[in-house]
Every structure is written in structure tokens, then in C-alpha cells.
């Protein structure tokens, strides 16, 4: 049953989600994974992806 506390929590949902996202991005393991994924993406982009006009 959706209750008053659930409704109260709804108002701050975006704020919580944004803070969690920013905290996750600062996590050392996550930073390493992101860095690796980004490097791979940029390499792929330069080699294979079509350039937009």
C-alpha cells in the first residue's frame, strides 16, 4: 500500500537520485570502469564511427 511516507519520499526523489548518481561517479572502482569504457568508446569513434556533417 502506498502510504504517506512513500508520498513524502516522492518529493525528494530526484534530489536523492542525483546525489546517488554523483556519489557513484566518485566511487574509485566506478571511475576506473568509466575511464576504460570512455577510452574504448573514443578509440572506436575515431576508427569506425561515421562523422556527422
Amino acid at each position: 500500500m502506498i502510504d504517506e511516507s512513500d508520498i513524502a519520499a516522492a518529493r525528494e526523489a530526484e534530489k536523492r537520485a542525483r546525489l546517488r548518481a554523483q556519489a557513484a561517479a566518485r566511487d574509485p572502482a566506478m571511475k576506473t570502469a568509466v575511464r576504460q569504457a570512455n577510452a574504448k568508446m573514443r578509440e572506436m569513434s575515431r576508427e569506425r564511427l561515421p562523422k556527422k556533417a
Partner: protein, 160 residues
């Protein structure tokens, strides 16, 4: 801006993080060949202090030094760089990532909030798809719109 989407349909996988308080999957969705920024899609289930898990999905933009620049939670914002086909692929991947997570974790209760208020029926459609996934994993659900116009879905895992 020249965003290039690299998503395939329903990949549903990427870097997986699983802790007591958080389960998330992220995958690169594309790249901007003018700014060198890279965009990641995240689907995250985070434990609230109530013990419920709160799903959310968002796109995070990283700059050329791999620092996070911005988190996009609103489709009105992502329309500035995602075309219609890219948005379709992002949604397909969000749904596949939710399937992946629900296939690995049996959460007792999940509570899901829209980030926007007073969503029109076409914008609510994606949440209908999300609900259908929960139902397919045996959850029962409840939905309401608050007096402020925010949408809430609560899913409980049905007893066997």
C-alpha cells in the same frame, strides 16, 4: 553538438555493480564527436532507509577528462541530443537492464517515482512497460498520482 548513438537494441548489459545497498548496470550509449564527451546510461536500484529498493534510470555525461558533467533524468532534456531513434534504443536498453537486474535479484519491495509531474499518457507509456516487466517477474503493483502530480508505482514480490 554531434551526438552519435552506439546502442544496439536491448543489449541490457554493461558494467554491473552489486552491493547490499545498490544494484546498478551502466553502459555507454554514445559519444559527441565535437566535444569528446561520452554518455552512459545507468539503471540503478538503491535501497531506501525503509528497506525498499528505489529504481531510477538516467544518462550521465562525462567530459573529455572523464569527469561527470551532468545527469539527465528528464526526457525533455535528453531530447536536446537524442533523436527519436536514439530515444527508442535507450528505452529498449533501460527495459532490458531492468530485466537483467530483476533476473538476478529478488527485491521484496520496489518503489518507483517519476521525476516529472503531470506526465501525459504518451510519457507514461514507458512506465507501463516497466510495470509489465515487474509483473512478469511475479510482482504485484500499485499506482497513484500525488496531489502534486507526481507518479508513484510500488511493486511487491508476490508470495509463492
Amino acid at each position: 553538438m554531434a551526438f552519435i548513438c552506439v546502442l544496439n537494441d536491448e543489449k541490457g548489459w554493461g558494467d554491473l555493480l552489486e552491493t547490499e545497498a545498490k544494484v546498478s548496470v551502466n553502459t555507454v550509449i554514445g559519444y559527441d564527436d565535437e566535444t569528446d564527451h561520452v554518455y552512459h546510461l545507468y539503471v540503478s536500484f538503491d535501497r531506501q532507509n525503509t528497506g525498499y529498493f528505489e529504481p531510477s534510470f538516467y544518462i550521465q555525461e562525462f567530459d573529455e577528462k572523464d569527469e561527470p558533467v551532468y545527469e539527465y533524468f528528464h526526457s525533455t532534456e535528453t531530447k536536446s541530443f537524442l533523436d527519436r531513434e536514439s530515444r527508442r534504443r535507450v528505452l529498449a536498453n533501460v527495459l532490458a537492464m531492468i530485466r537483467t537486474i530483476l533476473g538476478r535479484h529478488k527485491f521484496d519491495t520496489c518503489i518507483f517515482y517519476s521525476m516529472d509531474v503531470h506526465l501525459p499518457p504518451e510519457a507514461l507509456l514507458k512506465y507501463t512497460y516497466v510495470s509489465a516487466i515487474f509483473f512478469s517477474f511475479g510482482y504485484i503493483g500499485e499506482y497513484m498520482t500525488t496531489s502534486d502530480g507526481q507518479h508513484i508505482w510500488k511493486f511487491l514480490r508476490a508470495p509463492l
